[in-house]
Symmetry: C2
């Protein structure tokens, strides 16, 4: 499962593009955040990505979970949002699939978002 | 659909109890928040409520959406989290339903949380 780390400085629209791209390719993705500001950007990204993926016939939902992680040797509680189709369908199995390629530029943006301190 | 307003001062455990109670009775609930702090408490509440409701055979997911609301005559963007079973099953239709009563005290707590400014 691909884990995208979102920070409080992440752009929700860019994250949404990246998230939609990962879900189109892998069927699901996880967003990991630490802090209220980062969670805010992540949830906005999910709301925006829902719109992108609705045209592909997906009904995207998210499942929030707590996760213990370590940052600079210190234990922190992160929140992980598992984002996937409600029926766990893979986009490739859906007839109405939008054939647009994944937004590679947006994916590159998020690959740089390794700062999880929100 | 019952809408629970969550603020940045709301206790996630109390909200989770209220949320689980509403979902057990009505099958779904909506959490409405304004601001990153309030959203943080709401998402934590959903993660906790998932644990409460798993024992009732429910797989709770959430669907984030933007909502335009008015506070003190000013237009604000709220986030609404629709919280329901993945398959939109009503708890009453599930055989393994936990027969414990809804947490009435917790419901009363949240009824007082009308402060949505986060």
């Amino acid at each position: 499962m691909e884990v995208l780390k979102v920070s409080s400085k992440s752009n929700p629209n860019s994250c949404a593009g990246a998230l939609a791209g990962v879900i189109r390719h892998h069927g699901a993705a996880e967003l990991q955040v630490v802090g209220a500001g980062a969670l805010n950007q992540a949830v906005k990204a999910v709301a925006i990505a829902r719109g992108f993926l609705a045209s592909s016939g997906l009904d995207v939902v998210c499942v929030p979970m707590f996760a213990d992680i370590e940052i600079d040797g210190q234990s922190r509680t992160a929140i992980r949002l598992l984002v996937e189709d409600r029926d766990r369908r893979h986009p490739a199995t859906i007839d109405v699939r939008d054939s647009a390629p994944a937004p590679v530029a947006a994916l590159t943006d998020v690959a740089a978002l390794t700062d999880v301190a929100g």
